[in-house]
């Protein structure tokens, strides 16, 4: 009886561990999809990765609140620059339907106005919400980690 109980407990424990792991992996998948869409100037995919009531905080601009504002902000980004960056993910924590992640990104940005390619480097903090089983960006702030020129 003890052995059976132990087996059941172990089973429950491993289920909860694999559940937690897969949720974390799903958040990582959202970050990787975001990286790909950002490099591909793919606004449609980017918007599909944001939740119903998002806030995007780009540098040198007020917080962009709501999907329409977020869309316009990315349109402005892609009119100005062409990004080729890679995200490194340091921490992801999941709490029920909410998660957060800390990342940094590094690579190149082509300034479309003059064709110049410059180094790009940022730190990022994300808050995610699980909407209908999918992890979506709820809050997102990035900040350059390159020395001031």
């Amino acid at each position: 009886m003890k052995k059976i109980l132990f087996g059941v407990l172990l089973g429950a424990l491993s289920t909860s561990i694999s559940f937690a792991k897969s949720e974390k992996e799903a958040v990582v998948d959202t970050i990787k999809s975001y990286e790909k869409a950002l490099n591909g100037n793919d606004i449609k995919t980017i918007l599909s990765l944001y939740d119903i009531k998002p806030t995007f905080m780009p540098q040198n601009a007020p917080a962009q609140i709501g999907r329409d504002a977020v869309k316009t902000a990315y349109e402005n980004v892609f009119k100005a620059i062409d990004l080729d960056i890679t995200f490194e993910i340091y921490e992801v924590e999941v709490f029920g339907k909410t998660a957060w992640a800390r990342t940094s990104s590094a690579g190149k940005a082509k300034i479309l106005a003059n064709g110049e390619t410059i180094s790009e480097g940022n730190n990022e903090l994300f808050i995610f919400k699980n909407e209908n089983g999918k992890w979506k960006i709820h809050q997102y702030l990035f900040s350059t980690n390159l020395p001031r020129k």
């Binding site: 040198n60 340091y90 924590e93 709490f95 957060w100 809050q139 702030l141 001031r148």
Partner: protein, 131 residues
């Protein structure tokens, strides 16, 4: 402000941080950070751990004198973890030249409850002033 119940102590922590920042009170600031914090100031790598966070604030206060107010927009408490979105606005005195310039930032915080007290666990800001 959008906030969940039990947000009062987190809001209090943000207000204490604002006060300590304006008073250049590094000891107080460090007491508001958790055991394993990350501070992401603009134009620098992420500062990971309390020693790095301390050095970063020493650098800030050797360079600037801040007089800013935080506006709290969102706070959500999830058990022993919480997050908040704020913005700050005010003036900065650049100590090297004595100039006073406008300061404005967006901020995102992740907090952890440690031994019964809310502490800053992750903190990033970036300017919201046009280039």
């Amino acid at each position: 402000m959008n906030s969940t119940k039990n947000s009062g102590e987190v809001i209090q922590l943000i207000k204490e941080y604002e006060k300590a920042l304006n008073e250049k009170d590094i000891l107080k600031i460090l007491s508001l950070y958790g055991a394993n914090p990350t501070f992401m100031p603009q134009y620098a790598p992420a500062q990971v751990g309390k020693d790095a966070v301390k050095s970063a604030y020493e650098y800030v206060f050797n360079t600037l004198e801040l007089k800013i107010s935080f506006e709290i927009h969102d706070v959500e408490v999830l058990g022993d973890t919480a997050w908040a979105r704020t913005s700050s606005a005010g003036k900065t005195k650049i100590l090297a030249i004595g100039d006073i310039v406008s300061e404005g930032n967006n901020e995102l915080f992740v907090f952890k409850k440690e031994s019964g007290s809310w502490k800053i666990h992750q903190y990033i800001f970036s300017t919201n002033i046009p280039r």
